[in-house]
């Protein structure tokens, strides 16, 4: 169902303030609790989840690099973010099936918040099934937890761990499939438990 904005026009709900408030609270929880999966299907109205993440976080004050060309031209004016080279971008959107070939901002020792936030599009996130089974520990995780990811080049995980090896420097990741969200802040220790070719379906 399309919703009405204040002027009475019908717009996709991800651009409305109410939706963004609800989505932000979910985003805040998934980043606070790595391993938690939130499903945004009811909010998305056929939009990809990564677009909803961007709509929730971005405005004209920040920069975005669309590394894999996932966005359409018409998305940019609505997001308001300015285009930036990936090495300088505040936010980076990537298709995770392709291995990373860049160095994002990792922040500085006195300003680790100057680091990039990566939004990684994977094919599926699931508690039980997927190509790569991960063990997560660190702040926000009560003991340890597991998550399965499909459609991510394994190089991403190695690279991410290297970027995050010198806390407080590092990058924060938001993984999305079509409708679900997973947070991996720089503090999360990510270990690959198992790599399965068939997605662990048998």
């Amino acid at each position: 169902m399309l919703k009405q904005d204040l002027l009475g026009a019908y717009v996709n709900p991800i651009w409305l303030a109410d939706t963004q408030q609800a989505l932000f609270k979910s985003l805040m929880q998934v980043l606070s609790r790595p391993g938690r999966l939130d499903n945004w299907a009811e909010w998305l109205e056929n939009s990809p989840a990564y677009l909803a993440v961007l709509a929730t976080l971005l405005d004209g004050e920040v920069s975005l690099a669309d590394v894999s060309g996932l966005l359409t031209e018409s998305n940019w004016p609505l997001l308001q973010a300015h285009k930036s080279a990936v090495e300088q971008a505040n936010y980076i959107l990537c298709d995770a099936t392709k291995a990373p070939t860049f160095l994002p901002k990792l922040g500085t020792l006195s300003s680790p918040d100057f680091a990039a936030t990566l939004i990684l599009k994977v094919s599926s996130l699931d508690k039980m099934q997927g190509n790569i089974r991960l063990k997560l520990t660190g702040p926000g995780v009560n003991g340890e937890t597991e998550i399965c990811v499909s459609g991510i080049d394994q190089a991403w995980l190695d690279q991410r761990n290297e970027w995050c090896s010198a806390f407080p420097l590092g990058i924060d990741c938001i993984l999305v499939d079509d409708t679900q969200i997973l947070g991996l802040p720089r503090t999360t220790k990510v270990e690959i438990l198992e790599v399965r070719d068939n997605g662990g379906l048998n």
Partner: protein, 306 residues
């Protein structure tokens, strides 16, 4: 809210109904939200943000208020506390402002009913849940300010996790007074890196930050900083092997734990005051909702026994 005075009939109050939901414009909220995510990802690090002016004084909780207004939506139930009480002037003022600028939200005085709790100087006695978020108001965000006035230099010290000067300060205290004299705003190390100013909560509340089920967000409006203690995260008050961190003691001269004169509770943080009529010193739970709950269960038990 049944037990709150309606304050919306005075002209000052009506004025704010003309603003955006949550008072702040959506751009201001987005900036705060981005900062919150950074704060969660870098536990204990003070994320600078631009901090808009709010219509109440800097120092009255504008940092906490901006966090609350950026988080809250119509589905939320809010509790606002100051000094442990929902009915102290500042709590009433903040709550009525939020009610007015966020039509559709619910407010409550009960910890159990709230999913968003904004507080000044206390963490509720009742343990918080995973679905709750605690927002603390912060006047001085930086624990290092007592040893280094320059923020530029403090940021480097924080980055390097260099707290040697702070530890020396604590040590000097011990040499001089045989005690660590820090009463509130106790420096607390988060996830073994950043030391935070835990906000002016008493030492009594500091252990509640450790391995908390709820996300804790701290906002300093005047100093323009947001920081966080994520759930299930180490929060360790600074201490020495031979001089451990200690919470406030409430034992009387004979070593017996004082109790709340109202509900009889023997395990809560107590306010002390002089009874105006009898001149006698009295103790009462600082957390008014907790006191009410204890009182209620007491009367239930009594009636069951009776």
């Amino acid at each position: 809210m049944s037990n709150q005075a309606k304050t919306s009939d005075t002209p000052f109050r009506q004025a704010s109904a003309e603003y955006n939901f949550g008072f702040l414009d959506e751009y201001a909220k987005k900036e705060i939200r981005r900062s919150v995510l950074k704060a969660i990802a870098i536990p204990g690090y003070q994320v600078p943000y631009s901090s808009r002016e709010m219509p109440m004084g800097r120092g009255f909780g504008t940092g906490g208020l901006q966090l609350t207004l950026s988080l809250i939506g119509k589905q939320d139930t809010l509790k606002v506390i100051d000094q442990g009480s929902d009915d102290s002037v500042n709590a009433v003022n903040l709550r009525s402002f939020i009610e007015m600028t966020c039509p559709g939200i619910d407010t409550t005085t009960k910890v159990a009913e709230a999913n968003l709790i904004q507080s000044r100087h206390r963490i509720p006695e009742q343990a918080l849940r995973e679905d709750q978020v605690l927002v603390l108001q912060v006047p001085y965000p930086d624990a290092l300010v007592v040893v280094e006035p320059s923020e530029d230099k403090r940021k480097i010290m924080h980055g390097e996790a260099d707290y040697s000067r702070l530890l020396v300060k604590l040590y000097e205290d011990i040499v001089k007074f045989d005690e660590i004299t820090i009463s509130h705003r106790y420096p607390t190390r988060i996830n073994r890196h950043y030391v935070i100013d835990s906000s002016p909560i008493p030492r009594w509340d500091v252990p509640k930050m450790n391995d908390s089920k709820a996300l804790i967000l701290l906002g300093a409006g005047r100093e323009k900083k947001i920081y966080a203690v994520p759930p299930y995260t180490l929060a360790e008050p600074l201490e020495f092997d031979d001089v451990p961190f200690r919470v406030e003691g409430f034992n009387d001269e004979t070593g017996k734990r004082r109790t709340c004169h109202r509900c009889g509770c023997d395990h809560s943080f107590l306010d002390e005051f002089i009874d105006a009529r009898s001149g006698e010193k009295l103790y009462q739970c600082s957390d008014s909702d907790y006191c009410d709950e204890q009182l209620k269960s007491l009367s239930v038990n009594q009636s069951l026994e009776g």
